[in-house]
């Protein structure tokens, strides 16, 4: 733990940039800012002594996912000016939700300040560190089976959803 300030700055940056990612009308900017959020999260993971997970997050979430987003956006039609005007939600609804959001943030800050939260007593004894790779391969093989299943599912998602229907084209 170097200093608490770097965590605070990182968290603040993550929250601010995720709000930016959500509030852009043009989705492509949102997607790019989401990549930046991922990058910040991966730095945060690195500080929380999860370096491998941080690398994974950096390469997959801010790399691959941004690529998927951008390819979907460019495969679909770019919204023209007319549609973009229609796309803007009524200010009323947006404002109400924004107020709610601010209230919750304020409440959280208040919670942060108050001392009387009953926190769970945490374990002090740190286990002798097992390597993450060993942990995945030796302790979590059930999850690896699950991963194999979900990767096959992803394969079928591509086969089923992205393939063109030949019959319909003939019609």
């Amino acid at each position: 733990m170097d200093s608490i300030y770097i965590h605070i700055i990182l968290l603040a940056l993550i929250i601010i940039s995720s709000i930016f990612a959500v509030s852009y009308a043009r989705v492509i900017r949102g997607a790019i800012i989401l990549g930046i959020v991922s990058m910040l999260v991966s730095i945060s993971l690195f500080l929380l002594s999860c370096p491998l997970a941080g690398i994974f997050e950096l390469s997959v979430c801010s790399g691959l996912i941004t690529v998927i987003f951008i390819s979907v956006i460019s495969l679909t039609l770019p919204p023209d000016e007319k549609q973009r005007k229609v796309n803007s939600v009524s200010m009323m609804k947006k404002m109400v939700l924004l107020v709610l959001l601010v209230l919750v943030c304020g409440f959280s800050l208040y919670m942060l300040d108050s001392k009387n939260i009953t926190f769970v007593p945490l374990m002090q004894n740190v286990q002798e560190s097992i390597d993450t790779r060993d942990n995945i391969w030796n302790l979590r093989h059930v999850d690896l089976i699950g991963q194999a299943l979900i990767l096959l599912t992803g394969l079928f998602a591509v086969v089923v959803l992205f393939k063109k229907d030949k019959n319909k084209d003939k019609k």
Binding site: L52, V60, N135, R140
Partner: protein, 106 residues
């Protein structure tokens, strides 16, 4: 746990619901299908942070790391599926407007 650590822990445990709310806010207010998925991604980022901080504070970061790695794989597959769905929805409707997909009501 030292005082500094407790403060840090509070910070992380509060950042998650805030990110969750930002995601919900995105899902509720947007009229763009892709922005909905961006909202979901932001919520997932919040959970990633929570998992990592939980592993850090109870002294088992290696377990948290394996959780996060598995979670990211699942997340990518779900995202691929949603990309496929969006691709097909846009082909059917010629627009990204979510109001097109409100034919079915509960």
């Amino acid at each position: 746990m030292s005082v500094e650590n407790i403060l840090l822990f509070k910070l992380y445990i509060i950042a998650t619901p805030v990110l969750f709310l930002v995601g919900i806010y995105a899902i509720m207010t947007t009229r763009n299908i892709i922005a909905t998925i961006i909202g979901i991604e932001i919520m997932t980022k919040g959970v990633t942070l929570l998992l990592a901080s939980c592993g850090y504070f109870n002294g088992r970061p290696e377990m948290a790391q394996s959780f996060i790695i598995i979670m990211i794989v699942v997340e990518v597959v779900i995202l691929t599926i949603s990309a496929g769905l969006i691709f097909n929805i846009v082909k059917k409707h010629d627009s990204l407007d979510t109001r097109n997909i409100r034919n079915l009501k509960g």
